[in-house]
C-alpha cells in the first residue's frame, strides 16, 4: 500500500490509468506509477506485495537511461525497454512531470502493443497533470 505521501487525486487517477492498462492488455503482469525520486504512487494489481523497492530501482534506471540519452546527445528519452527472457519491461516518463510509469508485460504480447498501451497511459496522466486535476507536491 503506498504511503500517504501523495494526494488522493493523484493516487486515484494513477490507479485508474494502471487498471486501464490491464484491461487493454491482459498480458500486463504488473505496472507501477512512481515519483521521480522512487516512491510508489499506485500499482496494479493492487493485491501484490510491495516494499517500495521496485519503485526505487525504476527511478534509478529511468535517471540513468535519461543520462545516457543526454550523454549521446540523442534528444530526450521516450521509452526504455528491458527485454527479458520471460517478459518485457517498458518504462516511460509522464510528459515532463516528475512521474514515471513502469510496466512488466508477459511474452504473449507484441512489443508494439506494449508500447502503445504504455504511451496511452502516460498521455492520459499528462493530460490530468496539465489540467491541474492532479499534482505531485513535496511531502
Amino acid at each position: 500500500m503506498p504511503q500517504a505521501r501523495f494526494n488522493d487525486a493523484l493516487i486515484a487517477k494513477g490507479q485508474e490509468v494502471l487498471d486501464a492498462m490491464r484491461f487493454a492488455s491482459p498480458a500486463l503482469v504488473q505496472a507501477v506509477l512512481l515519483s521521480d525520486d522512487g516512491f510508489e504512487v499506485a500499482r496494479t494489481p493492487r493485491m501484490s506485495e510491495s516494499d517500495g523497492r521496485f519503485a526505487s530501482m525504476a527511478s534509478s534506471v529511468q535517471a540513468l537511461s535519461e543520462a545516457v540519452v543526454h550523454e549521446l546527445r540523442s534528444g530526450t528519452g521516450d521509452e526504455m525497454i528491458i527485454q527479458a527472457s520471460q517478459g518485457v519491461v517498458i518504462q516511460a516518463r509522464v510528459g515532463t512531470r516528475p512521474a514515471v510509469v513502469s510496466a512488466l508485460f508477459g511474452t504473449d504480447e507484441s512489443l508494439g502493443k506494449c508500447l502503445v498501451v504504455t504511451r496511452r497511459a502516460t498521455a492520459t496522466l499528462e493530460e490530468a497533470f496539465a489540467s491541474g486535476a492532479v499534482s505531485i507536491e513535496p511531502f
Partner: protein, 183 residues
C-alpha cells in the same frame, strides 16, 4: 587504462553531488530527481542513481568518482557500486539530527572498502555546527572499530583545495597499506 574507482557516500544533503562536481575534470553526470521528501531534507532535488565524475592522472590512468544516493531505499546501487571501489570518501553533515549515527551507518555499510583500501571522512557544515568535532568522530570510529584510524577532516564540498587534501590522503592511505601488506 588504469582506473581507480572511488565512491563518495553519505546521507542525503551531505554534499556528495557538489563534492564530485568540484573535483571532476569533466562535467559530472548527475541523476537528480525532484525531491518529494522535503520534510526529511529540504533540498529541491536528490540523487536517485549515481553521480559520476573523473580525474585524469595521465593518458592511461584515471580516477572514476561515483557518488551514491544517500537514502537506504537505493541501497541496491550501493551494492552495485562498492564492488569495484578502491577507496571512499564519507561525507557527513554536522548539523544533521544525528551525524554520529550517520557516520556509523555508512562506515558499516561500506566497511569492506575500508578493509581493502582506504576511507577518508569529510564533515560538512561544521561552520554552522562545530560539534561533534573531528576528534569526536575519530574516537567514535575507534570505539566501534578497534584498530581503525580513519582520517576525519572538516570540509566545504565547494572548496577544491580541501577536496584535494581528502583525495591525497586517501591515495596515500591506499599506497601505504599496500606497501605494508606487500602488494
Amino acid at each position: 587504462m588504469a582506473e581507480h574507482v572511488i565512491l563518495v557516500v553519505g546521507p542525503m544533503g551531505a554534499g556528495k553531488t557538489t563534492a564530485i562536481a568540484t573535483m571532476s575534470d569533466i562535467e559530472t553526470v548527475k541523476t537528480e530527481a525532484v525531491n518529494t521528501e522535503r520534510n526529511v531534507v529540504d533540498k529541491a532535488t536528490t540523487t536517485v542513481a549515481l553521480d559520476y565524475g573523473e580525474i585524469s592522472l595521465g593518458p592511461s590512468e584515471k580516477i572514476r568518482l561515483y557518488g551514491v544516493p544517500g537514502q537506504k531505499r537505493f541501497d541496491f546501487m550501493w551494492q552495485i557500486l562498492k564492488a569495484r571501489a578502491v577507496g571512499m570518501l564519507v561525507l557527513v553533515k554536522n548539523d544533521a539530527q544525528d551525524p554520529k549515527a550517520d557516520l556509523l551507518r555508512f562506515f558499516e555499510e561500506f566497511k569492506e572498502i575500508h578493509d581493502r583500501g582506504g576511507v577518508v571522512v569529510g564533515v560538512t557544515h561544521s561552520d554552522v555546527q562545530p560539534f561533534p568535532s573531528t576528534i569526536d568522530y575519530q574516537r567514535l570510529l575507534a570505539e566501534h572499530y578497534p584498530g581503525a584510524v580513519a582520517p576525519v577532516f572538516t570540509i566545504d564540498p565547494r572548496n577544491r583545495d580541501q577536496l584535494v587534501t581528502m583525495l591525497s590522503v586517501l591515495a596515500a592511505s591506499v599506497d601505504s597499506r599496500a606497501m605494508f601488506s606487500g602488494r
